[in-house]
Point group: C2
Chain length 319, copies 2
């Protein structure tokens, strides 16, 4: 079998389920199960980069920063540092569990975890309309105080009366630091864990200095960019459903086994995918195939090794 | 000039001073100053690995975990995950600031930050006598409760009445994951940031699985092992004093410009170095030179570029 270069973006249930508390035992168990499901790719000899989400973890880190300030007056870290912290903690967990899975499977591979900064454009239109909720839910008084003190932007939550939540922008990733190094290392057979949580958001200022930003980069888009930049053959997004559907959970719901660019664009225009959920994932896959990537697959982590599952996204339908 | 391979361990004031609050602005400013002081090594064309301490940062992360549990019932992460978080946050900060320093200095180098696990022996005698204080100071009642719940070990603090602090073991590092990869990358000219906070402590169990440990590895010893394993020419420990002294802060204090193995061993036996402070640093340097390392230097980060300063530790005195 031809040795392929594959980027896998772990999300959703792959690391922590919404119904779980978030203990390290839960996270390690989920990670173990997920890695067991993708280990066949290593058995087949492919070269693999693993990226991952950080939603619940960085949410907890932000809450702990808030609590540490309130109880012990420990200075809070900005969002970029919290994302970096989460890359350290989650990346370490994936690396350690993967080392054990490799051992169990009789496989030998090096694994390295890289802390990754991803560059966005400071003038990205997303900064005009921040929509990504982060951190805890505050009452109006505290939200107003924090807005004045820190310049944070708050929006009322939809689920709670009098609840206000900080929102940050979700700009497009345009560059990934060390992407050439990542490519070289993975081509040598080492498994690389990188670009966690969409990467640490930075921009390049007018003096060509790297500056931090309080933003969250969509992890699937960041992973798609990484996959395109290292010229990956395949790009997988692991999520909570086995297929992409149109009209999901409606009477006329239809699962898609194959999806080409033209149909994907048409469905997106028609609003056939979930706005904040499946649409950006399909867009990330399109970004990958439009930039020379081979094939993109969206599926559930437990279904990964069964090739009957998953929506295969390509430029054109294969004959 | 011959291109040397150099490992630099940043500690003490290099990242955060004891009299500072711990804001990100303070940390970035200190990091910038430190990197400006060592940038001459890059101008001279050497290949550099940077390791770093994490004392105040991981202390704050532990306190935030405690506060997050108390205020919001967010599950606490174990010490290994907290160390990993700190590697992500500190490594990112060093990498970003170093990218800007390189730009200011007209230098071009790649920089990568690796999350690093360091292996210890589960039967290390240090586990029989944990001495390294971590986390917050508790009252007796809470300390007893945590001891019963989590198996943590507490010792009374010397400075406060009724204060109890968790102590963990500080075992010897015996292996560093990915050390061959680190060596290869740094030999290619890329600056590598690795082994932060002494590395994430793990051990290998009877099934050859990698398991976490609640311990803190001395960062200088871990960095010395890394330096020896990659066959570094020089190993620097940056601390808060310009030299190693014997009888420090006593009437007969004497600064040492040069120190060979025989004299270092003699002084250590005589207790001439501070037990918890300078003695382990000198020991780390001895570990390096005994394992084939060329020269080890202990000095203050602000004095690094002035070669008149610093204690040079070698196997034998040079003629």
């Amino acid at each position: 079998m031809k040795k392929k270069k594959i980027v896998i973006a772990l999300g959703g249930n792959a690391l922590l389920r919404g119904d779980q508390e978030g203990t390290i035992e839960e996270q390690e168990k989920n990670t173990y199960d997920t890695l067991k499901n993708l280990i066949y790719l290593i058995h087949e000899g492919h070269n693999v980069v693993i990226s991952h989400g950080n939603g619940p973890q960085v949410g907890n880190i932000l809450m702990r920063n808030d609590a540490g300030m309130e109880l012990y007056q420990i200075p809070q870290m900005p969002l970029d540092v919290c994302v970096a912290d989460s890359q350290g903690g989650i990346g370490y967990m994936i690396e350690r569990v993967l080392r054990n899975v490799l051992k169990e499977e009789g496989l030998k591979r090096d694994i390295i975890t890289m802390v990754t900064q991803n560059v966005v454009d400071k003038n990205d239109p997303a900064f005009k309309n921040p929509v990504k909720p982060v951190g805890k839910i505050y009452n109006k008084e505290t939200a107003d105080k924090l807005a004045a003190e820190k310049g944070w932007i708050f929006k009322p939550t939809q689920k709670m009366e009098n609840g206000w939540r900080r929102v940050v922008a979700s700009p497009e990733p345009i560059e990934i630091f060390n992407v050439d190094t990542i490519g070289r290392i993975v081509e040598g057979g080492t498994i690389v864990i990188a670009s966690g949580g969409g990467g640490i958001p930075v921009y390049i200022d007018e003096n060509e200095h790297v500056r931090p930003l309080e933003a969250v980069i969509d992890k699937d888009k960041a992973s798609a960019l990484l996959a395109a930049k290292i010229k990956a053959d395949e790009f997988y997004i692991l999520t909570d459903v086995p297929y992409v559907y149109i009209d999901f959970r409606q009477a006329n719901e239809k699962k898609l086994e194959f999806l080409n660019r033209a149909d994907a664009l048409k469905y997106m225009e028609e609003g056939k995918f979930g706005e904040g959920s499946m649409a950006p994932k399909v867009q990330a896959c399109l970004n990958f195939v439009e930039n020379g990537g081979g094939k993109s697959i969206i599926t559930e982590s437990t279904k990964l090794s069964d090739k009957a599952y998953g929506t295969k996204i390509t430029m054109e339908y294969e004959d």
